[in-house]
């Protein structure tokens, strides 16, 4: 019964979107910023329900995809040369640097531990002391507060052998760059990140760029609902921020979590794979937490690590190209042997296209 209701609701939402676009003429191009949305759009088959006049492109919201190869090289250097135990979320395991991935390091006898919470890194550090445990710090506003809380605990418990290799990123600065792209008509805004930063924090999108944004949940229906709102706003020429994930996202966000971030980190410049250095888009550890910075504690010497020049991830991450417009996609670049980061991460655009058939279902 529930299944039937869901199907009917989806049908109604899709038909509303399609008829609005038939009248309006389109085309409209929206970007989903979050990697989890990318996967949900593909796995629920949303594109198969919608008119071709609505184009959905993926943005730089998959943390693994925007992490530079240099970061993996640094992590591998720390594991190999300083005999550190690398502590990481699972999605970094298979990401190749210039000389292999953390999974390779483990199979060569190196120490790599997968955790689901950064807090686990403390226990690991205590067990292996004095060997250093280095948490691979990748992620957006959703994961950063838990890392901040971990470091506060580590400081209080005087854990001396826990470190972080920081490559954290924040979403607003790149969003501003993307918003200035003329052919993007609106944004499907992330659910979990917005729960931390709050719906109100996107006020610059309508004010400075005249673009609408809708915060969405992760269910197929949630996304269709948000897309219908985006189409409505675009058709009427309105720009605003709508929150369609009210059960989780508040206008002001999670003030406590943001307080934790501010207590442990300072804004800094960050280098994004595909986008280059974006001022103010990263975070660095501030005193007294800078003692946990692995790069300050250990000398790390790795050469520049240029990406394969044929890889189009940079333009895919900004929604300019679709994966099937890259010559490597599905040929040299497949999930088992990824060339670019968008294929490596389970939330990467290329991986989603490869796994779920992208737009190719009727071809």
């Amino acid at each position: 019964m529930k299944v039937e209701i869901e199907k009917q609701a989806a049908k109604k939402l899709a038909s509303d979107i399609n008829s609005m676009l038939a009248v309006h003429g389109g085309p409209l191009k929206f970007m989903e910023v979050c990697g989890t949305h990318t996967m949900a759009i593909h796995s629920s088959g949303i594109k198969s329900l919608l008119t071709k006049k609505l184009e959905l492109v993926s943005g730089p919201g998959c943390p693994v995809c925007v992490t530079e190869k240099l970061f993996i090289d640094q992590a591998m250097f720390l594991g190999r040369e300083h005999s550190a135990c690398l502590v990481t979320f699972g999605d970094l395991m298979r990401v190749p640097g210039s000389n292999g991935s953390p999974a390779d390091l483990r199979s060569q006898g190196g120490s790599v531990k997968v955790v689901y919470s950064p807090m686990d890194a403390i226990e690991i550090a205590l067990q292996i002391a004095p060997q250093p445990a280095i948490f691979l710090g990748v992620g957006f506003e959703t994961t950063i507060p838990t890392v901040a809380a971990t470091l506060k605990t580590a400081l209080a418990r005087n854990v001396k052998n826990l470190f972080v290799l920081p490559a954290f990123k924040t979403i607003h600065q790149p969003l501003k760059i993307l918003a200035s792209q003329k052919d993007l008509n609106g944004f499907l805004l992330p659910g979990h990140v917005s729960a931390i930063i709050g719906a109100d924090s996107y006020d610059y999108l309508p004010r400075d760029y005249q673009k609408p944004g809708v915060i969405a949940g992760f269910d197929g229906l949630d996304i269709l609902l948000a897309l219908r709102t985006l189409v409505e706003m675009s058709v009427r020429g309105e720009a605003g921020i709508e929150n369609k994930y009210r059960t989780v996202v508040r206008p002001e966000g999670n003030v406590v979590a943001r307080g934790l971030i501010d207590e442990v980190f300072d804004p800094s410049d960050a280098s994004w794979r595909g986008l280059g250095v974006i001022p103010g888009s990263g975070l660095s550890l501030k005193a007294p937490y800078d003692v946990f910075d692995a790069l300050k504690r250990f000398p790390v010497e790795v050469p520049e690590a240029p990406d394969d020049p044929r890889c189009r991830c940079a333009r895919i991450l900004t929604g300019e190209l679709n994966p099937n417009q890259c010559g490597l996609f599905g040929k040299e670049c497949v999930p088992e042997t990824p060339v670019g980061p968008c294929m490596v991460s389970s939330e990467g655009t290329c991986a989603a296209y490869y796994k779920y058939g992208g737009n190719s279902i009727d071809s």
Partner: protein, 321 residues
């Protein structure tokens, strides 16, 4: 060393008449005119997981491969490769499970071999089993008998084994009640064989899960297979664990399930036949073989959309069986 192992530990548990004589080879008779023969090696890590261990798995795995040819498993061989220092208590537990699994499957272990390797040369314990089964159908269960319009059924909820092994790895600290489905599928297949011509093809969806098996069927027939996401049974605890680990339960291995392609007109009869079979609780009609000459699997999603169900890429886990 291995002589004592065999005498004190292995024979008391596994001998049902033929093994104890320890000849160089066993002589078997009365096998019928058509037999199935297969072998498989088991290197699963960890060796103990909720719902089974490497011992029961090594019996079920080989029996199930025989079963997919329509053969009733009757004889097994067992090769044990042990790393020096492997605890006797753990070996006893594994042998107990093998003995219990073999009795339940109605299969006799008739010959075997045990080797102990120096420390580091093997990872604790590896098991090879080979099996002989008596083919109990005149029909050749082959993909060439699949025609457009045929139905695909699965014998129960999918993804339990892969998820149970994954969750029992030390690197995860979750507490989910997910058990491996490791079991013999012969009781299921024995019932389905009574469909006679209506039964086209059988597979046990082990490595790569349901997704790999459906893609295999599409590739073997060169036809598009269409399945309904809402008809595919997944236990709630498996779905929950899969969600957290970011794993597709359709790609997780099964060790006690059957995917059967059958005549569309036999669907009700097949589900009726399986109704009183505890091994097939939750059996479901999940999709059809379409006339479209494109080897791929299309899944109709919950919200009525469609997408490709791709062949699983890479490995969920290096050693699940």
């Amino acid at each position: 060393m291995s002589g004592r192992l065999i005498r004190d530990l292995i024979l008391p548990r596994l001998d049902r008449g033929k093994l104890g004589a320890l000849p160089d080879s066993v002589v078997l008779s009365d096998l019928g005119d058509k037999i199935a023969f297969t072998t498989d090696s088991f290197v699963v890590s960890p060796i103990f997981f909720p719902g089974g261990n490497i011992g029961s798995l090594s019996v079920h795995g080989t029996c199930n491969d025989l079963t997919c040819s329509g053969a009733r498993p009757i004889f097994l061989s067992v090769g044990l490769i042990l790393e020096e220092g492997f605890p006797i208590e753990e070996l006893s537990d594994i042998l107990d499970s093998m003995s219990e699994a073999a009795d339940l499957c109605g299969v006799e272990i008739v010959t075997g071999d045990t080797k102990v390797t120096p420390k580091g040369a093997a990872d604790r314990i590896f098991i090879n089993t080979a099996g002989i089964g008596r083919v109990e159908t005149a029909i050749e269960l082959s993909p060439s008998r699949i025609v457009p319009g045929d139905a695909v059924i699965v014998s129960g909820p999918v993804g339990n084994h892969g998820m149970a092994v994954m969750l029992s790895r030390a690197e995860f600290s979750f507490d989910f009640d997910v058990k491996s489905d490791s079991a013999s599928v012969w009781p299921i297949v024995e019932r389905l064989l009574s469909l006679e011509d209506g039964l086209r093809f059988l597979r046990d969806p082990t490595r790569g899960g349901l997704s790999a098996t459906l893609n295999e069927i599409a590739n073997l027939t060169n036809l598009t297979v269409s399945v309904d996401e809402t008809a595919i049974p997944v236990a709630p605890e498996v779905a929950a664990a899969a969600e957290i680990l970011g794993i597709n339960p359709l790609e997780a291995a099964n060790e006690g399930k059957i995917v059967a392609v059958i005549d569309r007109d036999c669907v009700n009869k097949a589900l009726d036949l399986l109704r009183d079979c505890p091994q097939a609780a939750g059996a479901s009609f999940i999709g059809t073989i379409t006339p479209e000459r494109k080897p791929r699997v299309i899944i109709k999603t919950r919200i009525g959309g469609s997408r490709i169900l791709a062949e699983p890429s890479g490995e969920l886990l290096p050693r699940i069986c």
